[in-house]
Subunit: 375 residues, 2 copies
DNA sequence: GTGAAAGCGCTAACAT
DNA sequence: ATGTTAGCGCTTTCAC
């Protein structure tokens, strides 16, 4: 007898988002005597069945306190028996709210993004929101299409990591102008004054460099990414701050600017490690380039970490299993996703957006592995 | 105040040197004479503006051939000028179709799934569908909740990789009974006669074993997964078929049944490689266990591939970067996702579902790397 | 505590 | 080629 109550309430959790324990018991639904052949059972069918009005049914199913417990129970029971399923599309149209969040990322399959998306879904699920995923493939036009499409779907808000070369922000402005919440993460958009979720890249660079110095490195090189992107310039700034603090000189020859690809890493390793004034520590702007450096060092019989300490950044899955395992910075991808959704839902439900650009900074974690552990 | 914004907007767009049409449109958008204060522009607003009927506007925007090109153009132009955005929610309600696909996977962040999802989104995008992602976390109740929730959202179909221990299939039956397409992939559901997308695991096992024999291995061991799961029993069957074909004996001592975790791999390696009758080739049921075997072999000074060839299965990201790089089977995750959506959309749009269980088998690819290349 | 009625924004007969 | 009308299934104001 408790069964039907839980079941129908559970269905309604999908629409509302009461925070209650959910028990699923979807039995009793195969009683076909009530089933209409065409289409779904509606609240009108239930109303007719019970000779009451549709509005009462609607109220009862939404746990409106004005309905007596007795009729409420009767309605829920009948709803379950008839195999009623709320039509959320209709509800969405009527209430002008979809409980849906749109997500736009460059590429879903990248480790960082799939983890972030996983975190987003986790929170969205708990709060009663759906998540529509789209990927731009780093194509500004496709990003624009996706964002416009999400608007037409009337999502309640969007979470975006921008395509690499997006320069026109009209599609974001569309949301901004209509007061629909946007949250950026990872690749930010300075043109839209809203919430952004980032990790403390400056501090990551600082931690890495300090760690290298503590391991006894006297000459620490840095493979730096494109400095027009904030994440990479921050990673370099942290490096310079640490060097200064440790009393080490900043030598521009020891900073190689590149795109941090596998090829770039190899080239940089050649440049740095073939000269006379070799570094005894290299802080790579990401794990990919660090991988190249490790391979180059091994091929050239440079001992890691004795002769050369190497640290990467991002904690790719391969970092812990390569030989030697790679010291790196763990970015809390899942946590970033969770924060993004929390912040977005807060804006959606409290109808207030930040006055100006608001940056939420999440901490990173230095993971010390063989490639830099000397003692 | 409003004037100021207009000015800024215009300057902004002119500075960007965007296509002049866009400048025009956005300039007009800020002309408040068109804008309703509350809510969005609707086809009725456009109709009123042009003194025509809303249905004509609807037809024009949907490129209905019965509307003359002249009025069509005029309507589209006005729609743009007024900043009209179609309300898909309303359209969905009316047409009883959402152009949305629901996806349920155990964990989004797993490499295989994020790749599959990426493939799904790719095709869905091209075919004009949205993708709602949910994850079960291998919890049957959460899976049930997600599937029911997707039903209430009136998705046009779902794609599912089941939770590990789902035993009640009522939630899938709900879709099946109402003739809403379902496609399973990876973790299948035999209880629902529908389309399933899988890879040819039997053949993968066969290829691996044959490859090992061709490299000169005479005694080939196998780390086998739980045999109640089809993928793992198939992987073993291919192994036995190859052995038989190559005239090698099937020795049950050389088959270790386990869950293929890191720990299982280490334990299996100990068992196999410490005895007197050591194998000279090991086919591991996945890459994770293969990793453990490689590490064990390296620690015990067993030369790879000279003394021992090792092959994994699934091509995890680490396989190509560990030392020695790991030979493995590449599963076309992205392709699986694409196939799943193609098959689902076919069922949605042609309103025909398979009479009985229909299995689409995708080929795998053997990638030979250092861990098994002897010549 | 319950009902009547209006309408969210769109589409699609059925007219003309 | 265009207009009229009637909903899709739900919520919600206003009555009683």
């Amino acid at each position: 007898m408790i069964a039907w109550r839980n079941a129908i309430d559970c269905i309604y959790f999908i629409k509302k988002k009461s925070i209650s324990i959910i028990i699923h018991i979807f039995a009793m639904q195969n009683d076909n005597s009530f089933m209409k052949n065409k289409g779904e059972v509606t609240i009108h069918d239930i109303a007719k069945e019970l000779k009451i009005s549709a509005s009462t049914v609607s109220r009862a199913l939404n746990n409106n306190p004005r309905i007596s417990t007795k009729t409420k129970n009767k309605i829920k029971e009948t709803a379950l028996k008839m195999g009623y399923r709320p039509n959320i599309v209709a509800s969405n149209l009527r209430t002008q709210k979809t409980n849906t969040i749109g997500v736009v990322v460059p590429r879903i399959y990248r480790n960082f993004f799939s983890n972030a998306i996983s975190g987003m879904e986790e929170i969205a699920y708990r709060r009663g929101y759906n998540v529509i995923i789209t990927q731009s493939g780093d194509d500004p036009e496709r990003e624009q299409f996706n964002v416009n499409s999400l608007f037409s779907s009337r999502v309640d808000g969007i979470i975006v990591s921008m395509a690499m070369h997006t320069t026109n922000f009209d599609h974001f402005k569309l949301f901004y102008d209509k007061n629909i919440p946007i949250v950026f993460f990872d690749r930010l958009c300075a043109a839209i004054p809203t919430t952004q979720i980032v990790v403390d890249d400056e501090n990551a660079g600082y931690q890495i460099t300090k760690h290298l110095a503590e391991q006894g490195c006297k000459r620490i090189a840095h493979l730096a990414g494109p400095q027009n992107l904030k994440i990479y310039s921050d990673r370099r700034k942290g490096y310079e701050r640490a060097l200064a603090e440790m009393g080490l000189t900043i030598d521009e020859d020891q900073i190689i600017y590149c795109n941090l690809t596998r090829e770039d890493g190899t080239k940089a390793a050649q440049t740095l490690l073939s000269g006379t004034n070799k570094p005894d520590g290299i802080y790579c702007g990401n794990d990919t380039s660090a991988l190249s450096v490790i391979i180059y060092a091994k091929e050239n019989n440079i001992k890691i970490p004795e002769d050369l300490c190497i640290v990467g950044l991002s904690n790719e899955p391969f970092a812990e299993v390569i030989t030697p395992s790679l010291s790196t910075i763990k970015q809390p991808a899942v946590e970033i996703g969770k924060q993004a959704v929390l912040s977005l839902i807060d804006q959606i439900e409290n109808k207030k957006r930040p006055e100006k650009l608001e940056t939420i900074v999440l901490p990173t974690e230095l993971i010390i592995r063989e490639s830099s552990k000397r003692k």
